[in-house]
Symmetry: C2
Subunit: 198 residues, 2 copies
């Protein structure tokens, strides 16, 4: 995953939006220890510790943070429900299609095999519906929420490979999301973190 797109960015972004205090720690990747797998069973990052609770999966972490701050999830039941469904949809309906597509893009393989065309159209179908959803809508669930952090971060990687060319509402949504001060700080912090590790 290229720098600036590692998933701890989603967590940093949410923490910055909410103004919650936090500390970032690094773990070695090459020699992952049993403690790493105890926190993250797939040996990945990020995970969050909050008191005596340790949570992995960016979706679960965003949901946890949403429950801590009204800046990340509204108190009203319909709004909360909308945030949760869009949080899942960002992963299971959009990233499920954009991730395999991005693997093809990342591989540099350009041949349009039947499977490649299948994955292209799988993503296109999802983006077409997302563009309809975002047309005339500023944020997914009324006000800005963790659902937007997830969805905008998923679409941002599609945009990086120019996959949003035909989807103006999605493009504008990514641009609106990534111009928020909390995103800009989170992104700069992740880049600085990598630079310091070089």
């Amino acid at each position: 995953m290229p720098r600036g797109y590692v998933r701890d960015l989603r967590v940093r972004w949410a923490l910055e939006e909410a103004g919650l205090p936090y500390r970032v720690e690094s773990v070695p990747f090459r020699d992952r220890r049993p403690e790493h797998f105890a926190h993250q069973p797939f040996g990945q990052v990020p995970w969050l510790t909050d008191g005596d609770i340790s949570i992995f999966e960016s979706g679960a972490i965003l949901l946890h943070l949403g429950e801590l701050s009204s800046k990340l999830m509204p108190a009203e039941p319909h709004g909360r429900s909308a945030v949760k469904e869009w949080l899942f949809a960002a992963l299971a309906s959009v990233e499920a299609a954009s991730q395999p597509w991005s693997f093809f893009e990342f591989s540099g393989e350009t041949e349009k095999t039947p499977m490649r065309m299948f994955f292209d159209s799988f993503l296109e179908a999802r983006l077409k519906h997302m563009d309809t959803v975002m047309t005339g809508r500023e944020w997914l669930a009324g006000s800005f929420s963790v659902a937007d952090i997830m969805k905008a971060d998923v679409l941002r990687l599609v945009d990086r490979f120019n996959g949003l060319a035909d989807y103006a509402a999605c493009r504008a949504y990514v641009s609106r999301s990534t111009s928020r001060p909390a995103f800009i700080k989170a992104h700069a912090d992740q880049m600085a973190h990598f630079a310091a590790a070089d």
Copy 2:
């Protein structure tokens, strides 16, 4: 998606486990109406209506049902947190890898292109870790929960294409999950639903 694997099964299964009353309704697929997209913006199934709330995404529906029944999610904070992270992990860490793999399997294309091998190893890495997690563990979060419904349903489709041959703990977990009376009833109901529509 073959009969017996449509995602409303996850919802039926949870409702059966909890003993909550429910009613199943059908919608036409070929001529999907604006009301369908109003409930499910990607034009898919299932969605759930509960009072004046309408929820799409099987993950969000399972989370909603988990909050309604202690048979689907424990009351204790650590257990609840574990259920939520595994619910997300089933989708974003396991199904994200198993779904593209199953598309290849389903296509009948057997050529081992570099991309095919990439997707095979992407799934294998996730299954290897899942097998470690399930070794000596009956359910994901202490007692049976919506996380197991999601995870077992995801692994069940891998098993259908014989993808769990090297993962005995995952295979046993699928078998343990699908021998529960609530699964058996939900599965039979989905099959009967299709048979009635023929």
